[in-house]
Symmetry: C2
Subunit: 134 residues, 2 copies
DNA sequence: CATAAAATGATAACTGTTATCATATTGACA
DNA sequence: TGTCAATATGATAACAGTTATCATTTTATG
């Protein structure tokens, strides 16, 4: 009896994420947001649903620093070069969003020459950003 | 009075890492290794020295999964395309080491067109490996 | 040696995340 | 609509990795 249940909490969580495309949220931030609306959503529920969204490809999860919370971002199931990717500056900590066609070449190369099907959106490029290099 | 101290523990930790180039170690694994040699090195000391090695550029640190320990790898301070980089398979979890000149192009592109100085070695490419795609 | 600076290691503390489980909610079907 | 089994929720305990604390030991140097 595989049934798709939909609860108020699931709806509200997904709605919140969809309304903030390109933004990163920690579980704690999400919990706070709903608390400010006088809506309590249990911590476990938030993690459970985020995990489910990630499995469904609607949301992506990033681990950036030890001890920091994981970040979650709505991506709506899109993939490939159309999706944006991230540059993480090791100096200032900034997470930069970027769209760039140049990656298509590397994507093709990794697939054809290395047999590796690259998930561009999940990959975080580490380095030093333009502002910090000056 | 800035002095560089060198202790037995520091020497042994670095020697161990250097003797296993290209290998990834968690703090716990390192502790176990020395325990098998009947050498006790405190957990705090291991983390402290690993952190120091990372700052010195001798060792690189990777966060791969929530809840998993961080992995540390000796890289000896080398950088750029000569250093290997990593492909992480999201299906089987395998971490693949790779050397590839193709990345030079992307490195140049990121620097010239985006002003981003890419640290290739620290970047982990997520995707699906050749074995899991079949 | 003597001394001050710094490192060590046992362990407590902290944080993010997951597991547990009693209760509440959901969807399907009569 | 009412019943019921499947599932979700949320409070909280449990857990794991890492960091902080601090008395003790080791180090480098005079």
């Amino acid at each position: 009896m595989k049934t798709t249940y939909r609860t108020k909490q699931q709806d509200e969580l997904m709605a919140y994420l969809q309304q903030h495309p390109g933004a990163h949220h920690t579980a704690a931030q999400i919990k706070e947001y709903f608390a400010r609306q006088d809506k309590n959503i249990g911590t476990a529920t938030i993690y459970r649903q985020l995990e489910r969204f990630v499995e469904d490809g609607k949301v992506r999860k990033y681990l950036l620093e030890t001890g920091d919370s994981a970040c979650y971002e709505y991506v709506g199931g899109q993939e490939g070069c159309t999706a944006h990717f991230h540059l993480k500056c090791e100096k200032c900590g900034r997470l930069i969003h970027m769209n760039c066609e140049e990656l298509k070449r590397l994507e093709t190369h990794l697939l054809e020459d290395h047999g590796f099907e690259w998930t561009i959106g999940k990959t975080v490029f580490y380095g030093v950003c333009d502002k910090c290099r000056k």
